[in-house]
């Protein structure tokens, strides 16, 4: 198939709509890759979740269907850009032709006046007024051209180049980057062995690891978390420290092309001493609290419940006969309690830090693309405007000079705004010099028009549509 078959804006619109609808469905259905299949089951029930999975809706953004749509949009955009969008950038260099009265009067927006002054005086006034409105003005004899916002002609080109660069950046990352998440307790290490990457991966994993030296949480007075911190060391195979840094949410570690982010925080275990013998019990998150369980015998379970790192641990016992566990004691960190023969000391809570990491080699290009796209869409809001004017000396009235001026133009966007501004401009000039009734002037206009050299000029405006 030839490329041009894809260069249809109708196809673009159809694809954009289809992609938009797909994304909407993907937003509606919890995505396996984000929250796990369990969440889908919770939301829709096991049976429906099964169907959704079968149709690929639970992992929609990785289905061949979705990737195919994106692929088609890419081809479509390349074809369209090369065939029609990029060539338009040439218009930027095109000079505005000077137009005569006849052509100017054909513009949807035009004004005709007979002013009580000389042609070049009126002209100078007009040029000044246009320049004040930031138009770039050119004058040749009795003809004037002015344009504003020409840079907007580049909007589509720039936006599309940006979008294509973005796709390139994303592709580079998906082929060579990696990412993952790991909860690491104090003293533990993060290596990249379990990281995720795409099927077409051709990247490499770093040889060094990240050690968690410390991690802590800062609270608001209410007890809600305000910030989480972790002290990390980058260590090589021999344990040599290559780099040290404290990270927090919004403040990651960057080393060797890999970024490590503070993404969550929790309590991993408590250290308890039984009669002086320390042991660690793993904590489980139970709603707002953490709890560790220890089976004492067949029937009795001890439960250690902890509400926060600096809160005391509460010790419960549970046997089947009791409806609810019974609280035995509340022990602050560093203290002990005696239960018959056994002394239980609460030494400390061991926090775990949730580390997110990633290597994103396409990122610089992606960021450049972001910049280009933002620039492009901002340019697209600018209306490109062109103004033409002609002034010819007309019959003097009572010996005073008069001139006939015709002013017209186009605006690619915001036409009403343009019309209003042009109207204001002509009024200002009329008021400044005074006008003669236009009835007498049509004859003058005729005369002037016939003097025009009838050169065929194709205007930029006409080619722009």
């Amino acid at each position: 198939m030839r490329l041009s078959a894809f260069a249809s804006v109708k196809l673009t619109i159809a694809l954009m709509t289809l992609i938009a609808v797909s994304i909407l469905v993907g937003a509606w259905c919890p995505q396996e890759s984000q929250v796990g299949f369990q969440k889908v089951v919770e939301t829709f029930g096991a049976e429906n979740a099964g169907y959704l999975r079968q149709w690929g809706i639970t992992d929609l953004f990785h289905t061949p269907f979705f990737l195919g749509l994106i692929g088609m949009l890419t081809v479509n955009m390349i074809a369209c850009s090369v065939q029609r969008v990029f060539p338009k950038a040439r218009l930027l260099k095109q000079k505005m032709p000077y137009l005569g009265e006849k052509e100017i009067s054909k513009f949807p927006v035009s004004r005709e006046m007979v002013l009580k002054t000389e042609a070049d005086v009126a002209f100078k006034e007009l040029a000044e007024a246009l320049k004040k409105q930031q138009y770039s003005v050119q004058i040749q004899g009795n003809k004037l051209t002015a344009e504003w916002g020409k840079i907007a002609l580049l909007a589509a080109t720039i936006t599309h180049i940006g979008l294509l660069s973005l796709l390139a950046g994303v592709t580079i990352t998906s082929w060579t980057g990696f990412n993952g998440f790991k909860p690491v307790p104090i003293g533990g290490k993060l290596n990249f062995g379990e990281s995720e990457h795409s099927k077409l991966w051709i990247g490499k994993l770093p040889p060094w690891e990240v050690r968690v030296d410390d991690t802590r949480r800062e609270n608001y007075a209410s007890g809600d978390p305000k910030q989480w911190y972790s002290n990390l060391s980058v260590v090589d195979k021999d344990g040599k420290v290559l780099h040290k840094q404290e990270i927090s949410v919004n403040n990651p570690l960057s080393y060797g092309g890999v970024d490590v982010y503070q993404s969550s925080w929790g309590l991993d275990a408590i250290e308890i001493a039984f009669n002086g013998r320390p042991t660690q019990l793993p904590l489980r998150q139970m709603g707002g609290t953490h709890a560790a369980f220890m089976q004492l015998d067949e029937n009795t379970t001890m439960i250690f419940s902890l509400r926060g790192q600096d809160k005391p641990v509460r010790v419960f016992a549970k046997i089947p006969e009791w409806q609810q566990p019974k609280m035995l004691a509340e022990i602050p960190a560093g203290y002990a309690s005696k239960f018959g023969e056994v002394q239980i000391a609460y030494l400390k809570a061991i926090p775990v830090t949730g580390l997110q990491y990633k290597s994103d080699p396409g990122l610089p290009l992606t960021y450049v693309a972001f910049g280009i796209i933002m620039l492009g869409v901002m340019l697209a809001a600018i209306p490109f405007r062109q103004v033409w004017a002609v002034a010819v000396a007309a019959d003097p009235i009572d010996g005073a000079p008069t001139c006939h001026m015709l002013l017209g133009g186009t605006s690619k966007k915001a036409k009403t705004d343009f019309e209003r501004k042009l109207e204001k401009l002509s009024q200002k000039i009329s008021v400044k010099f005074g006008t003669v009734e236009l009835a007498t002037s049509s004859a003058a206009a005729e005369a002037a028009a016939s003097q025009e050299k009838k050169t065929e000029v194709e205007t930029t405006a006409a080619t722009n549509g």
């Binding site: 804006v9 109708k10 937003a27 984000q34 608001y220 997110q356 933002m374 901002m378 966007k413």
Partner: protein, 331 residues
């Protein structure tokens, strides 16, 4: 909240209601129309100034950028709708858009004031929101939503001026279905699946019917010049909203990358914003393609408005989850 902040916010809310009625009055008393429109715009200007002051005061009182929960974002939205209308009416002679804009602002004030007090209180931020990125990311989004709203409202006026009364009615039904779903989702416990069905079903059915109804023209009502003007306002508002949405989405990506290490994670709210973005990209290309009538484009703009509402408010009230659910207030 201090008294001064409450007073300023109430002034803004009352101004929006008053200007709505003055706009309505201007339609009833055609002799005094020009004066009344000017008066209504002036009242709205007062409301806009009061709201600006209220938001700034709130920022000082909380000692942070005052845009971090649903209540505050509603204030910003109302602010941007009022400001957007006032700015556009400097260039365009906008009469009918006035009552729609002030009504929108008033409804959003009301929506905000009905939120549980916990949302209106100034509360500390969760770790993920403690970042200067918040003030770069969120304002362009809220302002873009407001611009898209103005575009949608202008689209209604455009259809009206083009004599497409039937389509106006049907599109209004679509919008009402969508907004009702949002309202029910916010203030009641109706099953979210029903609400989603109401939103999606109502929007699609209403818009398709409005599209099919475009053929029916009430010739007596047609005012081509005005229809053309409002068509341009739709386009203008979208061309201002679109770059803002683009900037909002991209800065959101930059923030996410900075905070979580990934600029895109198909989080539902992100996805929805992208859908809205694609919807308006489609609008822009339809427009450039020159094959679509102004009336069809207006219906696309109404569709975009519904997507905007879904993105902005639908997520929390219609039960979508994700990272952005900090705006949520019902557990």
């Amino acid at each position: 909240m201090s008294d001064i902040q409450v007073t300023l916010t109430n002034t803004a809310g009352i101004s929006s209601v008053v200007s709505f009625w003055v706009f309505v009055g201007s339609n009833a008393l055609s002799k005094k129309k020009e004066h009344l429109v000017k008066a209504a715009q002036f009242v709205m200007l007062i409301g806009f100034a009061a709201l600006t002051a209220a938001i700034v005061t709130r920022g000082f009182e909380s000692d942070r950028f005052p845009l971090s929960n649903l209540y505050e974002s509603l204030l910003w939205f109302a602010w941007a709708v009022m400001g957007g209308y006032l700015a556009l009416s400097r260039t365009y002679d906008l009469k009918q858009l006035g009552w729609l804009a002030s009504l929108t602002a008033a409804v959003f004030f009301l929506y905000g004031s009905w939120l549980p007090a916990g949302q209106q209180e100034i509360k500390p931020l969760v770790p993920a929101l403690v970042s200067y990125w918040r003030q770069i990311h969120v304002p362009p989004l809220i302002v873009s939503y407001a611009m898209f709203f103005i575009a949608g409202l202008s689209a209604f006026v455009q259809l009206w001026q083009a004599g497409r009364l039937r389509s106006v009615l049907l599109a209004a039904i679509a919008l009402t279905a969508g907004l009702s779903a949002i309202g029910l989702g916010t203030f009641t416990d109706v099953n979210t699946f029903y609400l989603q069905a109401l939103f999606v079903g109502g929007s699609i059915a209403g818009l398709v019917a409005a599209w099919l109804g475009l053929g029916k023209i009430s010739e007596a009502k047609v005012n081509e010049k005005r229809a053309e003007l409002y068509d341009e306002v739709v386009y203008r508002a979208i061309m201002i909203g679109f770059p803002l949405l683009t900037i909002g989405i991209i800065t959101g990506g930059l923030w996410a990358n900075h905070a979580w290490g990934s600029y895109w994670s198909w989080d539902p709210k992100e996805s929805m914003a992208l859908t809205t973005w694609l919807g308006y990209a489609a609008y822009i290309h339809l427009r450039i393609h020159h094959e679509c009538s102004s009336e069809k484009l207006s219906l696309v703009a109404v569709g975009g408005m519904l997507l905007t509402v879904l993105t902005y408010l639908g997520f929390n009230s219609l039960g979508f989850g994700g990272l952005h659910s900090y705006g949520k207030f019902k557990d």
